[in-house]
Symmetry: C2
Subunit: 339 residues, 2 copies
C-alpha cells in the first residue's frame, strides 16, 4: 500500500510501504475510515524533535476491523472502532486507575496516515460501536481518538467543574476542544487565548465566553484584570512551549490547577517558583481510553461535534500539502480521506 | 528585651533588641509560652539562603496576647493563641479558598525566638483557645503553628485518603508529622524513608507501617518492590533538595500526587520528564490557618501529640546551641523555653 513517511524536517512523502500485518496475537488490523494530521506531528516536521529513521506517521484513527490476532476477544472483523493514540492493555494497575496512557505495556500508535493500520493491544485500546456510523459522523469519531480526548483530559486535569472559571492557552485543535470539554463539564466562564479570527470564532462556538488576543505579560495582565486580580481556578496549557507554560502559570490562582497537555519542548520549571505559586500541576499524554466510551456516546447522540476542528480536507495522497497547511497555520487541522 | 538574631551563616546571637510594639492597628503583641527552631532556619544558617541584614529569627509561636491594635476584633489580651507562620488577613479571595499562605496581604512571621513578638494581621492569623491550656500542652500547641500544619498540608496536597499508600521523603520534624497526618487521614500503608534510628522510631510511633533506609535509586527500587512495581498514590516531599524531589518522583505512581513542602533549593524540573511521569504536583508554604482550629482541637482532645518531635529543650538564652544541635542532626527539633 501507499502510506505517509517522514524522512526529515519538512520532508513528508506518500510512498509505497509494506502492508500492515498481525505481528502479535493481541493485534488487530483496521481499514481507516479517515485519518488526520496532529499538531504534535509538527514537532519533528519543524525539526523540534529528532528523526532518527524514516517515521511512519499517524496516530489518530477510526475505521473498520479487517483482521484480529488469535487472542483478541472484544472486537471482531466488520466492527467500526475508535482507539486511543496511546495503546494500552487496559488491565494493568495504571490502566485500572484510569491512567491508560501510563500503561505498563504502553506503546504509541503509528502508521495511521494510511489506508490500513496495525493496532497493537487491540482489546485494551479499541472501542467498537454497535452500528456502523454514518459518513457524517466520521470526522467527529476520528477527533475523539486524540484531540478531543486530549482536550478533555486537559480540562479534567485542570479540575474543571460546574461553575468554574477556565483559561485555555493555545488555539490549536486541542485547545479548541479543551474549550468544548470545559463547556460540557459545566464551566461558567471560559477564556480562550487566541488571536486568529477563524480559531477564536470556533472557540466561541464551542463555548468560550471571552477571547483574549494579547499574549505574554499583556495577556496575563488582561486576564488578571478580567478576574478581579484573582486568576482562574482552572487553566489548560495546550501548546507545550515555555511561553505557553509561563502564560498558564501567570493566570492560575493559588490553589488552582493547570492541566498541561502540549508535549513540553524546552520547558524547564524552577522548583522554588513553582512552590510559591502554589498551583496544582498535572500533565501527560491523555488517557483517552478512559474517556472513549463516554465521548463516542456524546458524538453519536449529536451532543458534540468535535470534528469541526477539521477545516481542511485532502485525499491521503496529498498528505504533504496537509502538513504544509498546518505548519503555515493556514489550517487548524487536516482531515485525510481514504479512498 | 533579649532575642535571637542571625548575623551570618553559623552566627546566631541572643542579644538585646527593641521591644516589639504595635505598628499597625491590626497588630497584636504576644508573650511567647515557648518557641522553637525550624528546619527552614537552617537554610540561612548553612549559607544556603542569603542573609542581607541581621535577621530576627523565629516564626513558630504560641502564647498569651498582651496588647492589640485598635482594629483587632477576634482576640484580646489574656487569651492563649496559636498562629500560622504565614500571616494572612483570612478575608481575601485566596484566603477564602483555603490558601491563606498565598493571602494578598501575606507576610511571613519573624522575631518569634524571643519572649515577646509582634503578630501582624492578628485577626486573620491567630486562633484563641477557650481556656488557658496546661503547660504539658504547650509543645503540642507550638508544633501546630508550622511543622504539624506543614506536614498536614503535605499529606493533604498529596491527596491522602482512607486506605491510601503513602511515602514520606524526609525524616525531619515536618516529615515525621506528615506521617502522623497521613495516619489521621486514614492511610493504610505509610512508608517513611529514614535512616536515623531515633527518627524512624518516632515515625513508627506516629503511624509509619514501613521504614526504608535506602536512598536514591536504591530507595526508589526498594519502594517499587514493596508496592508490586506500582509506586504510591501519595508522596510527601519534606526536604526541599533535588535528591529528595527525585526520590519523591521516583516512587509516585502515574496519576498519583506529590505534596512538596520542603522549600525547594536548587530544584529544577524538566517539563517533558514531568509530563511523562504524569504525577500531580502541589507545593507551597502551608496554609496552616485553614487547619488551625481542627488541629488545635485534636491536640486539646489528646488525639495527637505532635510536640513529640521536640527532642531537645533549652532555655531561650542558649538558642545558639539549639541551632548547632539541629545543624549537626543531634536533635530533630529544639524547643526553647521562655523564662
Amino acid at each position: 500500500m501507499y502510506a505517509t513517511v517522514m524522512h526529515g524536517p519538512g520532508d513528508v512523502r506518500y510512498e509505497q510501504v509494506d502492508d500492515p500485518k498481525i505481528l502479535k496475537p493481541t493485534d488487530a488490523i483496521i481499514q481507516l475510515s479517515a485519518t488526520c494530521i496532529c499538531g504534535s506531528d509538527l514537532w519533528p516536521y519543524r525539526g523540534a524533535s529528532p528523526i532518527e529513521q524514516p517515521m511512519h506517521m499517524g496516530h489518530e484513527y477510526c475505521g473498520v476491523v479487517v483482521e484480529v490476532g488469535s487472542e483478541v476477544r472484544t472486537v471482531r472483523p466488520g466492527q467500526f472502532v475508535v482507539g486511543s493514540f496511546c495503546l494500552s492493555d487496559n488491565t494493568c494497575p495504571h490502566c485500572r486507575s484510569g491512567f491508560q496512557s501510563s500503561c505498563r505495556q504502553r506503546e504509541f500508535m503509528s502508521g495511521a496516515q494510511a489506508p490500513y493500520a496495525r493496532v497493537p493491544l487491540a482489546d485494551g485500546t479499541l472501542v467498537a460501536t454497535e452500528e456502523m456510523p454514518d459518513d457524517a459522523m466520521i470526522p467527529h469519531m476520528l477527533a475523539v481518538s486524540d484531540v478531543l480526548g486530549t482536550g478533555w483530559y486537559g480540562a479534567w486535569a485542570a479540575d474543571v467543574r460546574e461553575g468554574s472559571t477556565v483559561v485555555v492557552v493555545g488555539d490549536g485543535a486541542v485547545g479548541l476542544l479543551a474549550v468544548l470539554a470545559a463547556r460540557q463539564m459545566g464551566a461558567e466562564r471560559i477564556i480562550a487565548m487566541s488571536r486568529h479570527e477563524t480559531r477564536s470564532q470556533l472557540a466561541r462556538e464551542f463555548g468560550a465566553t471571552d477571547i483574549v488576543t494579547e499574549r505574554g505579560e499583556d495577556g496575563i495582565a488582561r486576564i488578571l484584570d478580567m478576574t478581579d486580580g484573582i486568576g482562574a481556578e482552572s487553566v489548560v496549557e495546550a501548546v507545550g512551549t515555555k511561553e505557553a507554560m509561563q502564560q498558564a502559570m501567570g493566570v492560575c490562582r493559588p490553589g488552582g490547577a493547570i492541566g498541561y497537555v502540549g508535549v513540553p519542548h524546552g520547558v524547564t520549571l524552577d522548583g522554588q517558583d513553582l512552590f510559591f505559586r502554589q498551583q496544582r500541576m498535572l500533565g501527560g499524554p491523555a488517557p483517552v481510553r478512559r474517556f472513549l466510551p463516554d465521548l463516542m456516546d456524546r458524538v453519536l447522540q449529536g451532543r458534540i461535534q468535535p470534528g469541526r476542528v477539521f477545516d481542511l480536507t485532502l485525499p491521503l495522497a496529498q498528505v504533504a500539502d496537509g502538513y504544509k497547511a498546518m505548519d503555515e497555520r493556514r489550517a487548524i487541522k487536516t482531515l485525510l480521506t481514504v479512498a
